[in-house]
């Protein structure tokens, strides 16, 4: 039996430590991990809890991230509560097994500390790894600070293991900005945390010897399509269960989460919609823009997959010009996030102007001043009634101004 690890009502934790504490409190059965910057402290701390007797779970050291997720898949199929963490290149190496995990409907929890993908090699935060997982069939939560990294990790188990969902969940936090910045975090008591998360009730577990099952079957054109359709349906249907879990979490913590968060949007004419830590910067910028007389607001995505089309449309309904911020090299297209938001707004009544800003690659800072420039450009668009700039622009980039595609006008 594990030794009690005492937590105070208020702690000073960084995002990594907060996530590792959530793993401890959730009473994980198996963590298989291969450390990588900047997520290393999550698994390192969990390893220390094991070594010091604070948890009853197993820590499995493996030879790569591919093996880490493979071991998680095995442990999850066996019926255990399973979690791990990774970043960037490690995430990339995990990709093949991410698809296996979701296809087998295994409720694994993966803490992803977002970091750029090489080349050039870079350890700082951007969303390239998060985007790499966007079609993998996992639920993706976004935390904007250490508190949220902790809260959403607890919620992740409850969503993943719900029998109507049975899908793996990632919790994303920005490398270094969230993962290594110590902040006040208000954890649940150990008792309240495990009571909230509950016990895992296995489904088709391989340790049930009275009912042996096959995982990882092969299907060709006669079966594959039906299985993938069922999986997609489960992912789309998970939205209401995520809402239920967030509501339940509010009851025990007092903290409210929504799949789409809105700030100063009641009367907003222009807005920035973003992911990760940029949301908090944009909120500061929006407040300053309001002092200049611009009705500015911010919308943030808490749940990137399943993508909340209807809630995004609802949040942006009265906005005239929207800046969608993508923190990942777009690779020959508009940013992926831009494409989601533009698709949602294309089918809205109001059909607002939607522009795309590529920013912050490899940990490049985005300043309040950069965000205010973005707001001012949205204001100009709103006043003109069309997109006055290139549709896609690069923000805070050295060299000649870089942008692509103009709006089509008669």
């Amino acid at each position: 039996m594990a030794v009690e690890f005492e937590v105070n009502e208020r702690e000073v934790w960084d995002g990594n430590y907060a996530a590792s504490q959530a793993m401890r409190q959730a009473d994980v059965d198996v963590m298989a991990a291969y450390p990588i910057t900047p997520s290393t402290p999550i698994v390192e701390n969990y390893g220390a809890y094991v070594a010091n007797g604070y948890v009853d779970g197993e820590f499995v050291m493996v030879e790569s991230e591919h093996a880490a997720m493979s071991a998680c898949i095995g442990a999850s199929a066996a019926g255990g509560r399973v979690a791990t963490a990774t970043s960037s290149q490690g995430f990339a190496l995990m990709v093949e097994t991410l698809y296996q995990a979701s296809g087998m409907r295994l409720p694994i929890v993966l803490n992803v500390v977002n970091r750029a993908l090489a080349s050039p090699l870079n350890v700082r935060g951007d969303h390239a790894d998060m985007y790499l997982g966007r079609d993998s069939g996992w639920i993706q939560f976004g935390a904007f600070n250490a508190q949220e990294a902790y809260d959403l990790a607890l919620c992740a188990f409850k969503v993943a293991e719900n029998h109507a969902v049975r899908l793996p969940v990632m919790i994303h936090q920005d490398g270094f900005i969230t993962s290594h910045t110590a902040q006040n975090v208000y954890p649940l008591s150990n008792e309240d945390a495990i009571k909230f998360v509950g016990e895992i009730v296995p489904v088709d577990d391989m340790l049930d010897f009275s009912r042996p099952v096959t995982y990882g079957a092969q299907t060709e054109e006669d079966w594959h399509f039906e299985h993938k359709a069922k999986q997609h349906k489960a992912l789309m249907d998970s939205m209401s269960i995520i809402d239920d879990v967030f509501a339940e979490f509010k009851k025990v913590s007092g903290r409210e989460y929504k799949r789409v968060e809105s700030y100063d949007m009641e009367d907003a004419e222009v807005c920035v919609i973003g992911l990760g830590t940029t949301v908090e910067s944009a909120r500061v910028a929006a407040k300053e823009m309001r002092k200049e007389g611009v009705k500015a607001g911010v919308v943030a995505i808490r749940c990137f997959r399943p993508f909340p089309y209807e809630e995004v449309r609802e949040a942006l309904r009265n906005c005239k010009s929207i800046a969608v911020t993508d923190r990942s090299s777009p690779g020959g297209a508009m940013g992926a996030f831009y494409n989601e938001v533009a698709a949602a707004m294309m089918t809205s009544q109001s059909r607002p102007l939607v522009t795309n800003y590529i920013y912050g690659l490899g940990g490049r800072d985005i300043s309040i001043e950069n965000l205010k420039t973005i707001f001012r450009e949205q204001k100009a668009n709103a006043d003109a009634g069309y997109i006055t700039t290139d549709i896609q622009q690069f923000t805070n980039l050295r060299g000649p101004k870089l942008g692509f595609c103009k709006t089509e006008r008669n």
């Binding site: 087998m104 099952v213 990882g216 299907t219 060709e220």
Partner: protein, 151 residues
């Protein structure tokens, strides 16, 4: 010659791989998880294959014979029941009971020739023939014991 009906349990290789009942997306199993047996399978490991209640999704009930172009043929008159082929067969397709070699499970054998390779008798008790070769003809054409070459 092997008795082809011997140990050919009722449900072995009765359908093509993939199943016959192509249900819709709303009816497929969650996570492509397939059950191996019908009902409670406690202690199934202690039962012989023909006594187990294999489910329709277990590969035991499916045949994969259409993949094979060459088949091993077993000659019971030469076999010494050493079990080498049973040990090495990668598809559990050597039928053996009480350490007696009985024949080949042609529903699951892929024709890889490993059994022929590991057979130690002279002549071999397992040899490869065309999939379409009649078993009687194959046995009739079995080679003689090889004499040691004089030095």
């Amino acid at each position: 010659m092997q008795d082809l009906k011997l140990k050919a349990a009722e449900k072995r290789g009765v359908h093509q791989l993939g199943g016959d009942n192509l249900v819709g997306w709303d009816e497929v199993t969650q996570g492509i998880v397939l059950t191996s047996f019908e009902g409670d399978a406690t202690d199934v490991a202690h039962k012989k294959a023909e006594e187990r209640s294999y489910s329709d999704f277990n590969s035991y009930t499916a045949t994969v014979a259409s993949w094979r172009v060459m088949k091993p043929v077993f000659n019971i008159d030469v076999c010494i029941d050493c079990q080498n082929c049973w040990v090495w067969c990668p598809d559990s397709s050597i039928l053996s009971r009480d350490k007696q070699m009985l024949g080949i499970d042609y529903d699951h054998c892929k024709g890889c020739e490993v059994c022929v390779e590991v057979c130690p008798t002279n002549p071999k008790s397992l040899l490869m023939f065309s999939e379409y070769e009649d078993l009687g003809d194959a046995l009739a054409s079995w080679p003689e014991k090889k004499k040691k070459e004089k030095k």
